[in-house]
């Protein structure tokens, strides 16, 4: 049975949502900039150079790139859903990836001490620097997403594009390559530091990919539900599909995390104190309560229920919990090794700093969190993201 339910909003409502989105975007940018200025005059947290700004950046970047991997199920592997439902949400999925990366950029840009000198990275590019490559790969990633979205919009009205064989697949493959490159390099940003044993090694890239799939699926499902909440058939498909993604990605992530913890146990002197604190120490409540129970076990149960019963509320709740748990796991991964940093001088010393984000960084992070849905909502209003929807204004707009 095919029911066509269109989310027809009257134009007054659309204008209201657009105005609210624009106002929120401005508030988000203003708030983040104010937070940055505040951070400049606040007492610096010298002991933990990479704080909430880097945590937030990693969180949003993983969500954006993870969403791209989830999109590739349709764009590369050709899964359409039982009744071609995937076609109805794919453009929203691509736009989700693109809009989310802006929050990551906002945080990483304002997180550096002199953000207006950011272009020095491109001007004086040092090949051996992972951060320099991060800038290059993110530019490539965003560029490919823009091309993919433009293709999906333009192909509805330009027959010429449809006639070029394999163009869509070629673009999708390039997006996936960019995604994997970004993850691998992000893993090495942390993993190449011999000074930080808890990060050191090649394992972080894989950890980020697994974590990104969970976060990306959760993020895009949540936002697409909001847009498509009136289409019951699509909601049933999404509940089943995203629950399936959770049920594949969560156990893989959990297995990998267990391996990380076991291998940390074998490097007892330098890395184990971090995981000891996480598992049994002062961070145990956050790890077991938020990251494991709320962020893993309950979502698994909800995903099983959502898959069996095609339950929207179960899938949505699982998505929210995965996002919360995913954020906290990034917080633990990035902040805790800096708090418990080992130095070997006369004897092995483990630092014991206590980090709480300063007000400026909190404001920057809240700004990025406000920007995230606002930008998505604005894009959903101005771009023709529905299945078969043709652009009417300036080639790409509704």
């Amino acid at each position: 049975m095919k029911t066509e339910v269109k989310n027809k909003m009257n134009s007054g409502k659309k204008v209201a949502v657009a105005v609210i989105s624009i106002v929120l975007i401005l508030i988000a940018l203003g708030m983040a900039y104010y937070g940055y200025k505040l951070d400049q005059v606040e007492e610096q947290v010298f002991d933990v150079p990479w704080g909430l700004d880097v945590v937030g950046y990693t969180f949003f970047a993983l969500m954006a790139t993870g969403s791209s991997i989830v999109n590739s199920v349709y764009t590369i592997f050709g899964y359409n859903g039982p009744n071609g439902e995937y076609k109805k949400i794919i453009k929203y999925g691509v736009w989700f990836s693109l809009s989310t990366i802006f929050s990551a950029w906002l945080l990483v840009l304002l997180g550096i001490y002199k953000p207006f000198d950011f272009y020095y990275i491109l001007l004086f590019f040092r090949m051996s620097s992972r951060i320099a490559w991060m800038a290059a790969f993110y530019t490539f990633f965003a560029l490919m997403l823009v091309i993919e979205l433009l293709y999906m919009i333009l192909v509805e009205s330009w027959d010429l594009l449809r006639r070029i064989k394999y163009l869509e697949l070629a673009i999708a493959i390039l997006v996936l390559i960019a995604t994997i490159a970004v993850h691998s390099n992000l893993g090495e940003v942390f993993g190449s530091l011999i000074s930080m044993p808890a990060w050191y090694g090649p394992w972080l890239a894989l950890y980020f990919i697994m974590s990104a799939i969970m976060l990306g699926a959760a993020g895009q499902s949540l936002f697409i539900y909001v847009v498509k909440h009136k289409d019951s058939n699509l909601k049933a498909f999404m509940s089943r599909y995203y629950s399936e993604v959770y049920l594949i990605s969560i156990p893989s992530y959990l297995m990998y995390l267990t391996w990380i913890i076991i291998s940390a146990w074998y490097s007892r002197e330098t890395v184990w104190p971090v995981y000891q604190t996480l598992l049994f120490g002062s961070e145990a409540v956050i790890f077991w309560g938020v990251e494991m129970v709320l962020g893993i076990f309950i979502p698994v149960a909800l995903a099983v229920y959502g898959y069996m019963k095609k339950s929207s509320w179960a899938a949505i709740t699982a998505a929210v919990l995965l996002i919360i748990g995913g954020f906290m796991s990034k917080y633990s991964l990035i902040v805790l090794p800096q708090e418990l940093r080992p130095y070997v001088w006369l004897t092995l010393q483990i630092s014991s700093y206590s980090y709480f984000p300063p007000t400026g960084l909190l404001m920057m992070f809240i700004g990025a969190c406000i920007l995230w849905p606002s930008l998505y909502a604005l894009g959903a209003l101005i771009f023709p993201l529905e299945e078969g929807e043709k652009p009417k204004h300036l080639w790409i707009f509704k």
Binding site: P49, K114, F118, Y120, I121, F124, R126
Partner: protein, 228 residues
């Protein structure tokens, strides 16, 4: 960019390509004169207790086999510096004499080098520090833009042709020896080449050009205080 790298054009390191330092731990009495000299020479943000060099005070072992050790710490001027490789803008540079410096104008403050340094030898010099510096040093303030700061063996500021860092010039116990590692007859070369001066954490593979002599123990602290 009209601003210039403050380290360019100094070329004060003579013909030497590899300057090095040896710290004789037993001769350090913990007077902190080196810290004071460095602070004045390089205007380090002492108001935040951040230093290019500082002296750590250890009490090792249990009575009666306890031992007090003063351990001067500074940038190890690595041959293979992790901070250099991670810097995305090329602000961290290896200049003549093999000395690792930071171009303050190129530094964007991402603090990747702070994370990368295994010796904790780097810190952020903030806008607040610049204002404080102006209060203390007036028009003689040398740091005018925020950047990541570190020991440079007083590159460009050592007087005359000595090339000798302030901490070495001021050390009353003669605990710090500075010289050219290319000259086989220099004291640092002899201490390096005879194995008397040992590298801290050689497993990191960074090739420190600052090494330590631990006196009787000829190495790390030993449990019985080195007594037979």
């Amino acid at each position: 960019m009209s601003q210039q790298n403050p380290y360019q054009g100094f070329k004060n390191t003579g013909e030497c390509n590899h300057w090095g330092m040896v710290i004789k731990v037993d001769q350090c009495m913990g007077c902190d004169a080196c810290v004071a000299a460095c602070t004045l020479e390089n205007q380090t943000p002492f108001w935040n207790e951040l230093w290019r060099t500082h002296v750590e005070d250890y009490e090792l072992g249990d009575y009666p086999n306890s031992q007090r050790v003063f351990l001067p710490r500074l940038c190890m001027q690595c041959e293979n510096p992790p901070c250099y490789y991670v810097c995305p803008t090329g602000a961290t540079q290896i200049v003549d004499g093999g000395i690792v410096v930071v171009d303050e104008y190129k530094c964007i403050g991402c603090q990747y080098c702070v994370e990368a340094c295994p010796f904790g030898a780097r810190y952020m010099y903030t806008y607040e520090d610049i204002e404080k510096s102006k209060e203390y040093y007036g028009e003689n303030t040398i740091h005018v833009v925020p950047h990541v700061d570190k020991c440079t063996f007083c590159y460009g500021t050592a007087p005359d042709d000595t090339n000798t860092p302030a901490c070495v010039r001021t050390c009353v116990g003669g605990a710090r020896v500075f010289g050219c590692l290319d000259d086989p007859n220099s004291e640092v070369s002899i201490l390096f080449n005879t194995g008397q001066a040992v590298e801290i954490n050689p497993e990191l593979g960074v090739g420190s050009k600052v090494r330590y002599i631990f006196g009787k123990q000829q190495g790390r602290y030993v449990e019985n205080g080195g007594e037979e």
